[in-house]
Subunit: 340 residues, 2 copies
């Protein structure tokens, strides 16, 4: 089959890879309808995360079940399915508490390379959720978004305790941040402040429910959030970048007793203990337990209550994956969808 | 009046200080029945926190209202009162959300020096709570404990979401950690693991409701907590020390999705972002909003349901404050109560 492989920073190639097959009776193999490039794929693409050799890429996927192992009960060939970027058994104590991305048997889907024609999905019963039917083409991007970018933005909003009566600020205007805006809106937030300097992203933020745009960053951005919140800071702040600056901006934009939901994969972040102590914020985040939210999010999409697929502003054939990475790296595209 | 003043690391003297008086119409002046030495007083005593000159010490207090300013409505002369180590208006938006120790008008009581005969309490209406009557002598230590050490341990347990069905671990066997054990028990935790290497403290932990003692520290302590929790870690961990080692021990002892409540004043702590991200813990803490808990805790003490006063294993006249500091510094005493 064809699949995207990162050979070195900046060097993504679509090439022949071995066809995946059932290795364990709990596996499924799916034929991908769509996949995409994640902001977190840019970390190794930019050389910030080291790779040790040619690495199959991608961890976001929707498609048709091709084959299942002998122990698989919950999904069957022919069904259209979506899963998280972590495979999980969905039965262990950690999964049952809603933290499937820390499942005691979790497997990182990224290692399997979902930017490809076919994908092996371990722990299929715990990982995959079937949609009510095969979706029409226009729904596919939104269902694909559930796999990571919507699930992650949603977790950010849940971790930040966005809800009625709350002012929510969102740090980061990538696809996750934008879908954090959508999530905060769905969760009933009163006011949603999107932090963005880029006009097309500001527009999408507003389409998703942002009530205010703050274009300043760092200390100035914090000051602006304080101005908008009676000097106190936001109740809830979603951090969707993962740098030292964005984390500090999120913590400092939050009022005492407020909640920071951080979902940008942290890189080189060191949090100063004293400042955190006196900030009085709640801090929660990490790799989104997307599986927790799958049924609810599929439902919202199926009923056309939300349209997360709008974040894909670049659609390419899989063969042009390299251009998808490049466009996202240069911030010409918010998020690139790839059709195998 | 007489009061304790820190002149340099290790040099606490009880000397003549100016009598406090009403400066603002919202002030009260109280005659102290008892005060005490806090673990956090040891930071400047040990020279880890710098002082710029002779500093009046102490921020824990109970006593009789001597005089009130013209705007004070909630307390009156002759009443026995207790307050938090932060004065707060108890009416601002942050106070109403339960974070009185981040009140927009807060004042640090430590700057006023409660290890003394008299104390000026700013924002008396928002800060002080009267007990139903003047307590009998045997209740005074417990009421005094509410002022900080019990309120802080309690907040640690609340921030760690201790409760029914939970296994709670407590890092730190000082008075705050021990009262964190008491709080976890009161909040209904199933299992309470106290981390302590000191036999008298282990005994008090057990008296307060600890079901298990772990004497190992650092990585070994974490491994032991995992052993006791099916390999997963505790649901709730109270951190009551404030060092890099204790914070990491707390985070690593917590299961994914679990809660760390940290109340040890952080000194030189830097939290690694990546590890925190993948730990999936909730992190909350800071200076305890003791005022939130005052009515409930006074009630529990008044009805003799809890006996937090047991943490005072050294009782001295105020004039011997220096010996109280020394005994705590050398870990000969858990906590020293001072009688003016």
């Amino acid at each position: 089959m064809r699949g995207a492989v990162l050979h070195a920073p900046g060097d993504v190639r679509v090439e022949e890879r071995e066809d995946p097959r059932i290795l364990l009776p709990t596996d499924a193999v799916i034929r991908l309808s769509a996949t995409c490039v994640c902001g977190s794929d840019l970390w190794p693409y930019r050389g910030i995360e080291k790779i040790t050799g040619p690495s199959p890429m991608g961890h976001e996927y929707v498609g048709i079940v091709e084959e299942v192992g002998s122990d698989v009960r919950n999904v069957q060939p022919g069904q259209f399915v979506v899963g998280s970027f972590f495979a999980s058994d969905n039965t262990c104590e950690i999964c049952r508490a809603g933290y499937q991305s820390s499942c005691i048997h979790r497997e990182l889907m990224g290692a399997l390379g979902a930017q490809a024609e076919y994908l092996r999905v371990p722990l299929a019963d715990g990982t995959l959720v079937a949609t009510p039917d095969v979706p029409s083409d226009d729904l596919v991007p939104s269902v694909l978004a559930v796999s990571d970018v919507l699930g992650t933005g949603w977790f950010g909003a849940v971790a930040a305790e966005a809800g009625p009566g709350k002012t929510v600020a969102v740090v980061g205007d990538g696809a996750v941040g934008l879908l954090g805006v959508l999530a905060a809106k769905q969760l009933g937030a009163d006011r949603i402040i999107a932090m963005s300097r880029h006009e097309p992203r500001q527009k999408l933020a507003i389409a998703y429910g942002a009530t205010d745009i703050v274009s300043q960053r760092g200390d100035e951005g914090v000051a602006r959030i304080k101005d908008l919140t009676n000097g106190l800071g936001a109740h809830s702040v979603i951090e969707a970048v993962g740098t030292q600056e964005s984390m500090m901006q999120a913590i400092r934009s939050t009022r005492p007793g407020g909640h920071v939901g951080y979902v940008g994969v942290a890189h080189g972040v060191e949090l100063p203990g004293e400042e955190l102590f006196f900030s009085h914020v709640h801090l929660h985040g990490g790799p989104a337990p997307v599986r927790r939210f799958l049924p609810e999010l599929i439902d919202l999409i199926w009923n056309r209550q939300i349209d997360p697929g709008m974040v894909y502003d670049l659609v390419l054939p899989l063969e042009q994956a390299a251009e998808g990475y490049k466009a996202m790296d240069e911030r010409r595209a918010i998020k690139a969808l790839l059709h195998p």
